[in-house]
Amino acid sequence: MFKYLFAKAEDIPAGSAAIYFGYSSIIWFVIGTGLGSFNAAKLAFPDFVMGSEILSFGHMRQVHVLAVILGWISMAFAMAMMYITPALGNTKLWSEKLGVWNCFLWNVGLSIGLFLLWMGVTSGREYSDLPWPIDLVVVLGLLVPLCINVLMTIKTRRTQGIYTTNWFFGAATFMVIIVFTVGNSPEFFQLTGLTEAYLTWWFAHNVLGLWITPVAAAISYYVVPKVTGNPLYSHRIGHLHFWSVVVFYSTPAAHHLMSAPLPEWLKSFASVEGVLILVPAIAFVSNLLLTMTGKWRMFVENIEIKFTITGVLMAIPLNMQGGFQQTRAINWYVHGTGWIVAHAHLALLGFSTFLEAAAVYYGLQTLLRRKLYSLGLANFHFWMLLIGFTAYWVSMTIAGLIQGAGKIYEVPYIDVVIAEHPYMIARWVGGTMVFLGNCVWLYNMYMTARVGTVIPAGRLPHELAYER
């Protein structure tokens, strides 16, 4: 990678940036889930590794969250954008060199930011924990170059129209810059009190709603038609999805603070808009599942489709929860409990991760022109992720319902802690399975690059048979 930072633009092979982003994202996924597993162990066994400030839960929890969001998920997105956007425009990436630099800055900037965060240098605001000098690095070094590269690639495309995936890529890379800049501005401009608390959750909501969810969906709009060979079921439903994301998903930020003393009109407005999130969700899920018509065998037989459709199916419970748990009728019961933790993992580890994993599997095979090293290991990865996640989600949902009951009946808090303990252990087991699955994935992709069967020109990766 380093040799291309100062190489002439024409000497950098097409796809280099995407490949570096792909491997970086897997490594960050291993780091992020490893931290998650370690943190979960501390919640189950509080005296596991003690006496060290650096290895305490309060110093590592936010590092886990941001390593997964900015490392794994966002770098997998960058990887997907850097090979899907040119592919859909029948062109090359606008600047491969900018892409390589972007990947380099992303790894360096994120490492520095997470190191500082780990040492305790924090803004004290959830999801926007990074201190503002690091926020500037994230915006200028990570997000703006990515946005320029994606938009310019769309602009220099050699096709007539713009495919659905690229609408989302172009819009989301632009919106995430606005969201990140505005969301982190309270720290820089010294906004205080409830304004700051509201903006903190405005950021947390919109980074999911205008970045993670639409980009993950956009990836599946590419992978499913590409691998199955079916055209997308409906361009129009894609339109409905896109516009309802922009209009509905960008507005309900205040529903994260339903129990805070925010103005009542704001909470009511957010709650109504929150239910309307079901519009893009239903449009997306139905469009993708109908695209699968006649190719459902591939859900079992093809690893990329298996990952993608599992992620799409997880969008159903995700959005049913997300749409309704924020209404006053339900929120008062589950607010601030493990239910919400389970929901957040359903969004990031369930829905979104499965879609990105498919993109990284498929993209690295396409770009390296090498068939996946082992289907067995890939299936092992899939089931470790799915079973580990399910164990996590079920146990945290139950723990959340226990907490909710304890909360409304005003049970002494320690009794809630005692009742939750078995589920804390189950959550740790689930999280550890995800981590181990990812270690296997890293090995599998490393071996793919080293000894994977070379894919002949003109063939697609999924057309070749596996050798292992």
Binding site: F57, T122, V182, L194, T195, A254, I340, V417
Partner: protein
């Protein structure tokens, strides 16, 4: 962008996104800004200092340049006995909180009274200042305001500190930094919910209780009890010392981590703390091999543990 539909589309996108930002950013910001600060908000920001997270003056969150909250019953200038008063001492070069720097954060009326009666605009960070929170009735309405006691009463920071002994000084500002840095708020919320927490965790906050505070550290994921009013439920410093050193000394089922590392190298008497020995003795006690747990060392006056305990006891 060769197609007309993309011209229309990009304009529609700008309109939709812009409207959304107007409704979700501009309108709430204007609405929240019109709320006046309560005396609770003034007390909070004056005891916490300017920022509870990363800042220029304290980039590594070590609790540098923070105010000290004191309880005094002697006038620092004249030495005469006064009613017990809570004062916030800002020594030289300690940054003032946002409500002093930008009084409009306090709301129209409190800001006007703080400037006219409280003379906060005369306070200078180069000199340091002592603040107190007061209330005045104007036209039948109670208006809280901040008084710059250095200007109004001639209370100098050093003189004010000298009137408070060690137990009357609370390092709340440094403690807030510890609370944020150590991630206490990942498990303990600072926000009793409006619907069902009244009886167990106390009254939820009001709209104007946070003007000027940053960050609010509400927390979102409750794995331990809410701490907003914890100082009212449990005001025992001895309990807090044991609980922070090893929570399972006082609550055998607690899943809270041990914060013994905040004690530093030496305890209050200057003795080097033998952590390994303590843990071995505790393990023997936990296994039933000894009858009594080992004695918990008292935190030194300048230790991080003391500041954090001050902060928690101050949450009333």
């Amino acid at each position: 962008m060769a197609f007309r539909e993309y011209k229309i589309g990009s304009r529609m996108f700008g309109l939709a996104f812009g409207t959304s930002m107007f409704i979700t950013l501009y309108m709430p910001a204007v609405d929240i800004q019109n709320v006046s600060a309560t005396s609770i908000a003034m007390d909070r920001q004056l005891s916490f200092g300017r920022v509870g997270g990363f800042s220029y003056e304290d980039p590594f969150l070590l609790g540098w340049a923070k105010p000290i909250t004191v309880q005094i019953s002697q006038d620092p200038k004249t030495g005469a006995a006064i009613e017990s008063t809570r004062a916030f001492v800002y020594e030289k070069d300690v940054p003032f909180p946002n409500g002093i720097r930008h009084p409009r954060i306090l709301g129209t009326e409190p800001a006007a009274v703080s400037e006219s009666k409280g003379r906060i605009n005369e306070a200078s960070e180069d000199q340091g200042a002592v603040f107190i929170v007061r209330e005045v009735v104007e036209g039948g309405v109670m208006i809280p305001y901040i008084e710059n006691a250095t200007a109004t009463r001639g209370w100098l920071p050093a003189a004010t500190l000298s009137k408070a002994n060690e137990s009357q000084r609370l390092l709340v500002g440094k403690g807030k930094i510890m609370f944020v840095r150590e991630g206490c708020w990942w498990c303990h919320t600072l926000l009793p919910e409006q619907t069902q927490d009244w009886q167990y965790f106390g009254a939820p906050p009001m709209l104007g209780d946070f003007n000027g505070e940053s960050p609010t550290a509400f927390g979102s994921d409750r794995k331990g009890p809410d701490l907003t009013h914890v100082g009212s439920r449990n005001s025992s410093r001895e309990w807090m010392v044991m609980h922070f050193f090893n929570p399972r000394l006082v609550q055998s089922h607690s899943i809270m981590p041990r914060y013994d590392y905040l004690w530093g190298e030496k305890d209050a008497s200057g003795t080097v703390i033998d952590y390994d020995g303590w843990r071995a003795a505790y393990t023997a006690y936990a296994n039933g091999e000894s009858i009594y747990p080992p004695e918990v060392p008292l935190p030194a006056a300048d230790s991080e543990a003391r500041a954090l305990i001050d902060f928690v006891l101050n949450l009333k």
